[in-house]
Each structure stands twice: as C-alpha cells, then as structure tokens.
Amino acid sequence: MLDNFLGIPSSGWIAIAIWLTVNVVPWIYSLFFVHKINQSGVERWGAKKPKNS
C-alpha cells in the first residue's frame, strides 16, 4: 500500500476528501433542481423549452 501520494500521507487525504466532497455533492441536487426546472416548462425560470411545444 502506498504510504503517500504526491507526498501527502493518507491522513492528509482525509482532509482533502472532505473538501472535495463538499465541492462535488452540491452538483447532485443542483442538477436535480435544473431537471425540475426543465420539466416545469416555465421559460422565465430557464426551462429549455415549454412543456407543450
């Protein structure tokens, strides 16, 4: 097993993993919000196209 990667030991990667997690996780629910907006068909909210077109 690697003692370290890029000179950073595994304990340091825990801190970086927490930081990366708070960067990545919001994309999941935000893309869900964007999906809901697209489904709404409301153009002023930024929906891609109206529901019935």
């Binding site: 000179g7 927490i18 964007v34 907006i37 709404s40 930024g46």
Partner: protein
C-alpha cells in the same frame, strides 16, 4: 515607490475603468441599480460572486491558517466555507422563482412575512443587522489592505487606505452593474495573480511532491516561542482539535456564511433560476483553483520559512513570501490580486449596506413615494458617506469593529437562517415566527458568544449552532400557535403564476408603478 508597482497600478486602473464605464451605463432604473435588473448571465454572475467571495481576509488569512495548522485548516475552514456555497442552490432554487423577485434580502423578509403592511419594521430590522455587520467587515478589509500596501510600497498607511477609498468609490457609484463587471475583471486578476504566486513558490520547494514531503518533516513551532509541531502533524485532518471542536469550527464557518445577505443578493441578480443555481457551483470550481494556490502558498511558505522571524505573526507569511521570494514584477501582480480581492469584497459590501439604508429603511419608511431617479442620486451620495465612514474607522479601528467583524457571519446566520430557509420551503411559517426567530436568534447568538468567550459554558457547540436551534424551534412553535401566513406571502415561491391579489400586493410593496401612472404622476 517602485516603478513596477506604479506601472501595474496604472494598467490595473485603466482596465478597471473600462469595466466601470460599461457598468455605469446600465444603471438608470432602480432595478438595474440595486439588483442588476435580474438579468445577469452566468459569466458575469459567476465573476460577481467569486470576486466578492475571495476577500483580502481570505487571501492573507488562509495561507496563515495553513502555515500554523497544516491540513486541519482544510477540514475546518476550506470545507466549512465551501459547504456554505453548497447550501446556496437550495436558496437559489426558490428565491429567484417569482416573476418580479425582491430587490434585496430585507425586502424578502417584508414580502414573505408581512406583505400587507405599509412600512415594514422587519425590513428595517434586517437592514440594521446588515449595515452593522458590513461596515465592520469592510473596515477590517480596509485595515488589512492598508497595512499590506503600505508595507510593500513604502507609502504611509493613511495614503494607502485613501488610495483604496478612491478605487472603492469609482467602482461602487455606478451601482450593481458597475460592481459586477469590475468583479468579473477582479476575479481574473485574483485567479491569475494567486496562480502565479503558487507557481513562483513551487520550484523553490522542489515541486509539489517534494514540498509535501518536506512539510511532513517539520517539527519547529510556527512562531518563535510557540508550540513545536509533531512530525507529520501538518497533515493531521484534526490538528490539535478534538472531533467535536472541528465539527464546531466547520459549522460556524458554513452556517452563517450561507445566508450572509450579499450571497442571496447575487443569486437574485441572475437572469433566471437556472443561472442562480449554477452560479455558486461554478464559482466553487473557480474558488477551488484559488484555494489550491493558497494551499501551495501556505504549505510552501512553511517549508521555506519553518518558523516566522522574531516579532512576526503567521498572517504576515504571504507578504513575507512576496517580498523575499518573488521578483518585484511578480510581487506587483500578486499585490494587485490581493488588492482586487479586497476591493471586490469591500465595494460589494458598501453597496449592500448603503442600499439597505436608502432602499430598505428610507424608501420603506418614507410616507411619500421616492422617485427612482431621486433614489439613485440619494444612494450615490450616501455611498460616498458610508465609504468614508468605513475608511475613518480603518484609520484607528475601534475595538467593537474588530469584535463585530469576527462574529459577523455568525450574526447573519442567527438572524437569517430560520426566516430564509423556512420561508422558502414552508408555506405555513408566518410573521410572528419571523420576528421571534430573527430577533431571538440574534440575542441568543450574542449571549452564547459571551458565555463561550468567558468560559462560562464549553464551546463544543459554537454560538451560531445554539442560536439557530433556538431560532428554528421558536419559529416552528409560532407558526403553529398563530395563523398561517396568507397566500400573498408564500405564493411567489411555490407556484409559477401567482394570483391577482398576490401580484397587486407585491406591486404595492415594491412600489412598482406602471409606466402610464408614472407619466400621470410626472404631469401632476
């Protein structure tokens, strides 16, 4: 004064002025002046958001935290601050939905909780909290940049902050568009300047891997007479903190910042809900690059200077690296990046606090209707006054300013978390809940801060967590004890098309006057 710095300052000002002119052309109406007409595209809005986010306090403070604490700063501070941004899409998704969204956050408090009143005291209360918080925070920004510019240029501290005042005024007088477009430019300056700084440090520490290997071997204290670091201690995710204390640090860095009114205001500027949601996410990606540069600067700084020279604190590590480890031209560009960070935060906050005074207090409480053109002129006049007051405070910062600045984001959290999140996601929550939740939140935040600071109670849970818990509990109780909110209060955030009565209420409260009425009024 060095010629390199003069040249860089001139180039910086010329480009900045180009953006100021572009922005000032778009500030004729009250909607444009206060909130950019709810029309900003993703690029401008991300630049607007990012530059405000990265302040002089973070550019100078983050390397200092990394220098002293190592990777514990990544766990508690980096992750905490980024988590604040991670919460913003929840606000963006709802806040930007109405056809005519609010112009300010105090106005959100009014329309969501007391849409039928003629003059809203809740709007005034929210504005007062913003004004106190922002002026204190801006003063600290001015103080920090004043000392830095003075140390690096040889100018006196007074002259340095006067130069900063001039830059602040020329960017802020054109309203939100002027601030947003200059912020877009400042974002580029910050990212490029800090990336250059990191690239200047890396070869001097043998590259990325070698830098971290050497950091792991550091055992010296950060300051003369300080506590020695244990070998490998720079990489501990907790540092010298317990898990509970680290969770507390994480929460106090994230909760309050997520509702600091200037963030939701930037979401309001977006041209639609989708842009509002994407703004904090894309900004996070840019800020990630900025913070990666700061990581190299902080850790690389510790490798190059294992202990700060006698008499120097760790927050002087970045200026020390600029003067001793970078050539003057590069140093000048990096100084411009720090200046841009300070400027973009200070001008945004000065504008927010002034609009809070003129729009949310004066216009709200005024018995006569204030015309848009008069409103803009009054705001521009007051912007000068507020900027001068903050600069005068910075000449000799009173003790209370430093104290408020240290607690400002907790204060915002205590006052706004309950009313913002519950107001956007729960139809029933009512006026009584908003008043009691916000006021009790602030009072309990002050009380718990004092109790923790004096050691009366253990500070495992930070004051902001206590105050938010108390505020939310009280809000839920009040929402069930008193009548649910009227539909005019919640409809804009829950349905695409509001009823006629709701639209009339909004128009009245926001003093949205139809064009023909305006003409009639002018004729009279």
């Amino acid at each position: 004064m060095k010629w390199e710095l003069v040249l860089i300052t001139i180039v910086y000002f010329i480009v900045l002025f180009y953006f100021i002119r572009k922005g000032s052309k778009k500030s004729d109406s009250i909607d444009d002046f206060t909130v950019g007409g709810w029309s900003m595209g993703i690029i401008v809005n991300v630049g607007f958001f990012t530059a405000t986010w990265v302040s002089a306090a973070s550019v100078l403070g983050v390397p200092s935290l990394l220098y002293s604490l190592g990777f514990a700063a990544v766990t508690g501070w980096f992750a905490g601050w980024f988590f604040a941004n991670a919460l913003l899409p929840f606000i963006a998704y709802k806040l930007r939905k109405p056809k005519f969204p609010v112009r300010t956050i105090p106005e959100f408090m009014r329309l969501r909780y007391e849409p039928h009143v003629k003059h809203s005291k809740l709007q005034v209360w929210s504005s007062l909290i913003m004004v106190v918080g922002y002026i204190s925070y801006v003063t600290i920004q001015i103080t920090g940049i004043g000392y830095l510019v003075s140390a690096m240029t040889g100018l006196s501290y007074q002259v340095s902050i006067f130069i900063f005042l001039l830059f602040t005024l020329v960017t802020v007088l054109g309203g939100v568009w002027s601030v947003a477009l200059t912020d877009l430019f400042n974002t580029a300056v910050i990212v490029v300047g800090l990336a250059i700084a990191a690239f200047m440090i890396l070869p001097q520490v043998g590259g990325v891997t070698e830098m971290f290997i050497q950091a792991g071997q550091i055992t010296t204290p950060d300051v003369v007479g300080g506590t020695a670091m244990t070998e490998g201690g720079m990489f501990s995710p907790l540092g010298t903190f317990s898990i509970a204390a680290m969770v507390g640090i994480f929460l106090s860095n994230s909760l309050g910042a997520s509702v600091a009114p200037h963030w939701p205001t930037r979401l309001l500027s977006a041209k639609n809900v989708k842009t509002a949601i994407m703004t904090p996410l894309l900004s996070n990606a840019i800020i990630f690059i900025v913070f990666s540069s700061l990581l190299v600067i902080g850790i690389g700084g510790r490798v190059l200077v294992p202990t700060m020279p006698e008499g120097m604190a760790t927050d002087q590590i970045f200026p020390l690296l600029i003067t001793d480890y970078m050539n003057p031209v590069i140093g000048g560009i990096v100084l411009a990046a720090i200046f841009a960070a300070a400027l973009s935060t200070a001008n945004g906050m000065i504008l927010q606090s002034t609009i809070a005074i003129t729009y949310d207090i004066f216009r709200n409480m005024s018995k006569k209707r204030v015309k848009d053109s008069s409103f803009i002129k009054i705001t521009q006049g007051l912007l000068i006054v507020v900027a001068i007051i903050a600069t005068l405070f910075a000449l000799n910062p009173p003790a209370f300013i430093a104290m408020v600045a240290a607690y400002v984001f907790g204060l915002f959290g205590a006052a706004f978390i309950g009313p913002m999140y519950l107001g956007l996601y729960w139809k029933r929550v009512n006026k009584q809940a908003a008043y009691s939740g916000s006021i009790t939140g602030v009072i309990s935040y002050v009380v718990f801060s004092v109790l923790i600071e004096t050691g009366t109670i253990a500070g495992v849970l930070p004051a902001v967590v206590w105050s938010v818990l108390i505020s939310l509990t009280l809000m839920i109780i009040c929402s069930y004890v008193f009548k649910p909110a009227p539909k005019e209060a919640w409809e804009p955030y829950f349905v695409a098309e509001v009823s006629e009565s709701t639209q009339e209420t909004i128009d009245k409260a926001m003093q949205r006057i139809k064009e023909e009425d305006e003409k009639k009024e002018a004729a009279v």
